[in-house]
Structure formats: C-alpha cells, structure tokens
C-alpha cells in the first residue's frame, strides 16, 4: 500500500520556509541529510533557526551559505577533519548570527521533553557553568523570547521539591517546525529502520511538527513490518519520505558508506573566509543536482567509501598517516 508520502528532494526543500526552525538526524559527522541541505542552499533559504542536539558539517554549510539567523546547540566541528566550525566562528565574530549555547545533555533533554509533549525537562547537568550565566541569554538579549516557539526563558532554576536532592535546572522543550532525517531504510508508509547507533533520531522525529525522512532506499512497508522489533520510528510520526542514495555524503552512513574525511578536510581548509566558502559552494553545490554531485564525486571515490557489508565500515579508506 502506498501512502502518498513520497516526494522529491526539491519538494522536500520547499517545505522548509524562510524563517523555519529546523533540526536533523545524526551525530557530528554521521547521517546528516546533506542532499537536502545542499538543496536548501541552492534554493537560497534565509532566516533559518537551527535547533540541534549537536552540530556538524551540515551546520557549517548552511551557516556559511547565509541561510541561518539563529543557532541553538552545543557543539560544531568536523571531528578529526576540522577542529572547529570556522564559518560559524566567522559569523559570530561579525555578529551575523545569534548563538544560544546549551550543554549536550541539555539539548538532548530539551528534545526528549518536546517529544513527550512536556513543556520542559529537569536535570542537574552543567550547574555552575557560564552556560547558565543570565547575561549570556542571547535570544533574551535580542528580545526574541515571545513564549510561543521561542521559550520565555533560557533556563529556570528550582530545588527538588520531592526528595530534597538540591539544585535543579529546568530547560525548555525544543519546539521545531521541521525535522529532516537521513537513514538507511524507510517503508512506503513511513516506518523507519535505523541501523547502528540511532543517536537522537527518535526524539527529533517526534518533537518536530513536520518530519521528512530521506533514506538510502524506500522499501516495501511489509518488509519492515515482518520484524517490527527492529524498527526505530513509527510510520505515522513521518510525514514525507524521499529516496536519496548516498544522500548523507560527505557524512557517513552506518553499514553503507564511511565519512569522506578528505572532502570535509578540504571544506574546512578552504572555507575560513566567505570568499572561500562561496568558491566551494560554486564548485560543489550550485548548478548541480544530486546525481550531478555524485557524478562529480565519481565511482572510484564512492567505491572507496562503500562499507564492507560484514564489517559495516569501509576497508578501503586510509585513516591515519
């Protein structure tokens, strides 16, 4: 049975409007929905509000392209292939972007709260740090805390009223318009099967108002339902599905292909300046579609990244010196 959820990459990008709040699947340099990130850059989306459990290359591409006004998260970089987010750093220095810092666990708990319909989560993490410094409430300082999509406060502090465990910090639910996931398999009705670590994908999919799933392959729904205990996200939590093989490149996909470290290193090295970013985007994003991009990368590169099906990672990628 087909559910009519299948759309194209272009249609998926059009669901994300100027000013939308947006989040993604994956973890740092793994399973990021790059084909759709590139499409948003081609369509010159503006004013995005990214709310991410953790950032990564997808943040750097969108920020470098000028698509992002607000970034709420805890970390950005390229792991081994680039030690920090140079585009974000440059835009912070030029005051071209607002950054709201939370800790990693706080971001995760914010999405867990949103995913369970709770207005906030309570935790004991990061107490005593400048993350909780009231002077560093960026969205508050900018007068953006309207209590609708952006919470009235960055934090509230409380004492445990039940067991007397002491200081607690309340963090607001992460309310987002759109979540874009990038996974191995999705069924025609939207059931998702993630292989390997599923990071914070179940939480972000449930928290968002609209969830778009980009998959390496769309498979018959019955196939996934035969072993429903292996599935990760429920059919009706997913609104739209798109089939995009190698759609996470240059990030990796467990069991399918490795991170393209050389590509990320090249991006990191070349995009310290805006001119460098624009040049990189001209070469790898504008004027191409997904197939054109894969063609430009070429068979030898993609075969090298392809994972060994028994080991789940590529044996061809040279990792060290």
């Amino acid at each position: 049975m087909s559910s009519g959820k299948r759309i194209t990459l272009q249609q998926a990008a059009e669901i994300v409007k100027n000013g939308s709040s947006l989040t993604f699947s994956g973890f740092t340099i793994w399973r990021r929905p790059f084909a759709l990130v590139y499409e948003l850059i081609r369509q010159r989306r503006k004013g995005l509000h990214l709310i991410e459990v953790n950032g990564g290359p997808q943040t750097e591409f969108l920020v470098g392209a000028g698509c992002v006004d607000i970034w709420e998260s805890c970390w950005v970089g390229h792991e081994l292939y680039g030690k920090y987010g140079a585009n974000l750093s440059r835009k912070v220095g030029n005051k071209e972007i607002l950054v709201e810092d939370y800790s990693h666990a706080e971001m995760l708990f914010r999405f867990s709260a949103a995913a369970s319909g709770a207005p906030y989560a309570v935790t004991q993490t990061a107490l005593g740090t400048d993350i909780h410094n009231p002077a560093y409430d960026t969205l508050g300082n900018a007068g953006l805390r309207d209590g609708r999509r952006i919470p009235k406060h960055k934090y509230r502090f409380t004492e445990d009223p039940f067991f007397g465990a002491g200081a607690q910090v309340m963090v607001p639910a992460a309310k987002v318009d759109v979540a874009i996931l990038c996974v191995q398999q999705v069924g025609e009705e939207g059931t998702v099967r993630v292989n390997g670590q599923f990071y914070s994908d179940p939480e972000v999919a449930r928290a968002a108002d609209v969830t778009i799933v980009m998959a390496e392959e769309i498979v018959p729904e019955e196939y996934l339902r035969r072993d429903s205990d292996l599935n990760t996200i429920t059919s009706f939590e997913v609104d739209h599905i798109v089939e995009v093989p190698f759609g996470a490149h240059p990030t990796g996909m467990f069991g399918r292909y490795d991170v393209d470290g050389a590509f990320l290193k090249d991006f990191y090295t070349r995009t310290r300046t805006q001119e460098g970013f624009d040049d990189f985007a001209k070469e790898w994003i504008h004027g191409l579609d997904h197939l054109g991009y894969l063609e430009k990368l070429g068979w030898p590169k993609m075969l090298n990244l392809k994972a060994n099906t028994a080991l789940k990672y590529s044996t061809g990628v040279k990792r060290g010196q």
Binding site: G93, S103, A105, G128, D130, Y199, P202
Partner: protein, 273 residues
C-alpha cells in the same frame, strides 16, 4: 609481555600522554570515552591492567568492545562487540543516573580550580575567537565521579580564571547571582566528585578536593617543577610533587602501535634514530 620501561628514544610525547591517561583507569570501572587519544588510552587500559572496564561512547554505544579503534564516537566501529547500540538518551541518562566512574575530556583553557573553557577565547559577548562549544564536556564533568583532562600545555591556556566556564571545576558559579562556591554546595545529592587530573604535555596535575586548587603531581622527563610553574599564569603549588611521570612500558608501546592504532590515526610512531 615485556613490562620494562622503554628508553626515551623509543617513545614520543603522545605515547607518554596516552600511557599516563591509561593509568588513570581502574579495573571494573565504567568509562565515558571521547574521540581521539583518550579512546586509545582507554582501550590500552582494557588490554593491560583493566580488562573488565566498561566503555560508553557518547553517541550511544554501551559497553563497547570495538575490535578496531573508532575514528569518532559516531563511527561504525563502535558498535561491533558492544552490549547495546543505542542513542544519546541512553548514554546521558545512564551518566546522570550515576553509573559513570571516569570520563576523559579536553579543553582550550583550564584554570586553577579545574574549570575548563571550550566555548570562546575572550569576552563571550564579543569573542576574539568562537570555538566548538561545550559538546558533552560539562555533562560528563557533572555526572562522572572523576574526570581527567588531556591538554596541550601553553602558558595562555593555564589561566587564573577561564574567560568562560564551559565545564565545571571545583569552584564554580552559583547562578543567577554568580557568587563562587565549592561545587559540592551546588550539586547537592548529584555531587559525586569532579576533575581528578590534568595531563598536559609537561606534567600531571591533581586537585585538592577541599580547597579545589590544582597542584603539580609529576613532571614529564626533561621538565622541572619550577619550569612548569613558570608555564602557568597562576601560582602553581609545586610542594606536593611525587616525582617523574612514569614512561611507557614496552608492552604498552606494543599495544598502542601494533594493536590499537597501527594506522597512526591519533598517535604517531617515533622513528628509530
């Protein structure tokens, strides 16, 4: 296996740091692993004196036994051999529940109370340089019983007071007022400990739990306590120095270079002179 100490020409600084970090791990502990040198150090402990340690990767691998060193904690190599392959909610809930004994972390700046900055250089509101941000650094540091920091030692990085507290040391700020307090007063029932060591490229530092102040424990070969004190912006306590940092053993070097990181992803091999 040969447990004799290696000669100075047989190892490099990265080997020494890796072995010093590995020796912070005790058997049967649950250890939170970050990407890079700490991952090699923990797996080295697993191969030598701590065969029963349990490894957690922040991305969601629980009780991992990777047959090959993962390139990052999201790497496919994390999963194979693990008890469970899960997600961040499990990793952070387990940590907040109090399971984690030890975490390895890094930082751009550390101060005399073990507060660490990975967010920005200079004033937060007008930064000279925006860095990566916190990641899980404050979380692991809040939840674990002990944390060990591995850092490049430069005078500008060892500050009296970090410009931004990303990760909580022993004396932290009580918000919203911001007065400085011992972390024990702030964390209440969640207080389990704090930073226990800083392993820099010059020496190994520890903390006095009561005063919260850092002191020098051992010097890496070729450095004197006075020289290391001169490389800190604060007045480093050098009255408790216990000696020289123990060099790697031949067994440890064998595991690092032949078994754990033969590809030299994180630890370069010293070329024989």
């Amino acid at each position: 296996m040969n447990k004799e100490f290696a000669k100075p020409e047989e190892y490099g600084l990265a080997d020494l740091l890796c072995c010093a970090a590995s020796r912070e791990v005790q058997d049967n502990e649950i250890v939170f692993a970050g990407t890079g040198l700490p991952m090699v150090a923990i797996m080295l402990a697993q191969k030598t004196h701590a065969p029963n340690l349990k490894l957690i990767f922040e991305a969601g691998t629980l009780d991992g036994r990777p047959p090959e060193i993962p390139t990052s904690v999201g790497d496919a190599r994390c999963e194979m051999g693990a008890s469970r392959s899960s997600g961040l909610h499990d990793a952070f809930s387990i940590a907040q529940r109090g399971y984690v004994d030890l975490g390895f972390l890094g930082g751009a700046e550390v101060d005399q109370y073990g507060n660490v900055n990975t967010t920005c250089i200079g004033d937060y509101l007008n930064p000279e340089l925006r860095l990566t941000g916190s990641g899980g650094n404050p979380d692991i540091n809040s939840f674990a019983k002990r944390t060990v920091f591995i850092m490049v030692h430069e005078k500008r990085r060892f500050t009296e007071q970090v410009s931004y507290i990303t990760s909580p040391g022993w004396r932290v700020r009580n918000w919203p007022g911001g007065e400085t307090v011992h972390r024990r007063e702030l964390y209440g029932a969640a207080y389990r400990g704090g930073p226990s060591a800083v392993i820099s490229t010059l020496g190994v530092f520890r903390f006095d739990e009561e005063s919260g102040r850092i002191y020098l424990d051992t010097c890496h070969a070729g450095n004197t306590p006075e020289q290391i004190r001169d490389m800190c912006q604060f007045d480093l306590d050098i009255t408790r120095v216990s000696g020289e940092t123990l060099p790697p053993t031949r067994e440890e070097l064998h595991f690092i270079h032949e078994v754990l990181d033969p590809e030299q992803i994180f630890i370069p091999k010293v070329k024989p002179k």
